[in-house]
């Protein structure tokens, strides 16, 4: 196993031993180190980091994390369906501390683990695939303000502890608890994905022309939620001239066409400046989905000219009737997941396609238990 091999190389390191903590129910092995710097280096040496320093997970810090979510150490948060790998509350909490989470972030981490271990998310597939998807977390509801999760300026950028550490906790859990790492491990992404360090945002609910994402997905507005999405890298685009919903969506379509016909699931991130045009015209989400589904389409020969997919080129060459067949870009109107996020200034929106043409992994939303 790669991890034990890494450990074996580090012959100067002390061994982790069974924990003797009479006042806790933690069962993880532990190690005694001189100070935090030695702990950080030890975790690097053991291959337990994402390449950045981690916060040393002391029993006290881990216990605080568990208490904030009202969890027992041996509570099972999820089981990854393919490997049957179990994620306990204790292991999730250890990794959340390492990521730099505050204890009050733990309920978000818990809901994200519950969501990503649902079979329809296909966590194992998206994590090991050469295609290199990352797990995008989208948080909704009152907890966004409470935890100060950024939904505004530079929403995908750095500088916000909640965004950075909640997303990082999820990746550390995948690497350390599920054992799926790109360093001598099962993560075989050809190019990888910067979102595999951390990828957590909130929806910009104060700029929505319609109901928030979690309400669309069946929860109450007063609920808080996290939605997990197997995202490939996003493609931003500027559209500063269009000032109607139709023309803005036409601009989206131009960035969606390279995905090819019949695409199953894609997030469109509508910036506040674009969202304002939908609000002014009174559009709802269903109209957005229907417009893109109905208007974004091409004939097989047009798709073939784009090389999408490769097989249509042959079909168009050999079958003139087939060449005129019209294929929609989207598998269905529901293939579009609109969210609003980003700063007020600038007409920059983004498309984020799902892994596997959006057909082999489905976004999952889970309510966050905020009662502790």
């Amino acid at each position: 196993m790669p991890r034990s091999a890494t450990l074996a190389k580090s012959s100067t390191l002390p061994e982790f031993v069974a924990l003797d903590m009479t006042n806790t129910r933690l069962t993880s092995n532990s190690i005694e180190v001189t100070d935090a710097l030695e702990a950080i280096e030890t975790y690097f040496e053991n291959g337990w980091s994402d390449g950045l320093p981690v916060v040393p997970p002391t029993p006290e810090a881990v216990t605080a994390m568990l208490e904030a979510a009202n969890l027992a150490p041996d509570d099972i948060l999820g089981v990854e369906p393919v490997k049957g790998a179990v994620i306990t509350a204790e292991k999730a909490a250890i990794n959340a501390v390492m990521a730099g989470c505050k204890p009050e972030y733990m309920p978000v981490v818990v809901a994200a683990v519950e969501a990503m271990t649902q079979p329809e998310f296909n966590l194992h597939g998206i994590t090991v695939s050469t295609m290199g998807a990352a797990i995008l977390l989208i948080v909704n509801g009152p907890i966004v303000k409470e935890l100060e999760i950024n939904s505004g300026v530079s929403v995908f950028g750095p500088g916000h502890r909640a965004n950075a550490t909640i997303g990082r906790a999820i990746r550390l859990i995948v690497m350390n608890v599920l054992g799926t790492s790109s360093v001598d491990g099962l993560d075989k992404g050809t190019l990888g994905h910067p979102g595999k360090y951390s990828w957590c945002i909130a929806e910009r609910e104060d700029r929505l022309p319609w109901e928030p994402l979690h309400v669309t997905r069946g929860l109450d507005e007063s609920d808080s939620s996290v939605t997990v999405f197997s995202g490939l890298s996003g493609t931003p685009f500027g559209e500063h001239e269009a000032n109607t919903p139709e023309r803005i969506l036409d601009a989206f379509a131009q960035r969606l066409y390279p995905l090819g016909p019949g695409f199953g699931e894609v997030i469109i991130v509508i910036c506040p400046e674009h969202a304002a045009h939908f609000a002014r015209e009174g559009w709802n989400k269903k109209q957005v989905q229907n417009y893109l589904f109905e208007t974004a389409r091409k004939t097989t020969s047009e798709w073939a000219a784009m090389g999408l997919p490769s097989s249509t080129r042959d079909e168009a060459d050999n079958d003139s009737e087939k060449a005129d067949e019209i294929l929609n870009l989207l598998a269905s109107p529901d293939s579009i997941i609109p969210i609003v996020a980003g700063g007020d200034g600038g007409a920059w929106s983004m498309v984020i396609p799902a892994w596997g043409a959006g057909k082999r992994s489905t976004a999952v939303t889970r309510k966050i238990n905020t009662n502790g």
């Binding site: 991890r3 002390p14 982790f16 924990l19 933690l26 993880s28 092995n29 532990s30 190690i31 005694e32 180190v33 001189t34 100070d35 935090a36 030695e38 702990a39 030890t42 975790y43 337990w48 040393p56 997970p57 002391t58 029993p59 881990v62 393919v82 490997k83 049957g84 790998a85 179990v86 994620i87 306990t88 292991k91 250890i94 990794n95 390492m98 296909n122 597939g125 998206i126 695939s129 050469t130 550390l172 350390n176 608890v177 599920l178 054992g179 596997g356 082999r360 992994s361």
Partner: protein, 101 residues
């Protein structure tokens, strides 16, 4: 562990989990391939069937195998369903698997 200048040390926890995943291991190796039905199970990737066919051609040339039985599990990103594997095992004596991007 030597304490730091303040005379204290720090105790920290192992973030990894030892997963107890049950496996059945490899099947028993047959004494001979003579008369054996060779199962060729692809994962639906583009070149998986080509790879298996090429291996089968070599086996058929060298050994007196009975036949090839070709199946595709139909989804490269998920494991084959247990009933699919049960049916497959009924039809073959030896199985070859391939991932072929």
């Amino acid at each position: 562990m030597a304490p730091n200048d303040n005379g204290t040390t720090l105790r920290v926890l192992d973030p990894t989990a030892t997963q107890s995943i049950a496996t059945d291991g490899m099947a028993m190796r047959p004494d001979s391939l003579a008369g054996k039905r060779i199962g060729l199970l692809t994962n639906d990737k583009l070149n998986a069937a080509n790879l298996l066919d090429a291996i089968y051609d070599v086996l058929a040339e060298r050994f007196d195998v009975s036949s090839a039985y070709r199946v595709n599990k139909g989804d490269a990103s998920r494991p084959a369903k247990p009933e699919f594997l049960a049916d497959f095992s009924e039809e073959v004596d030896v199985a070859l698997l391939a991932n072929g991007d």
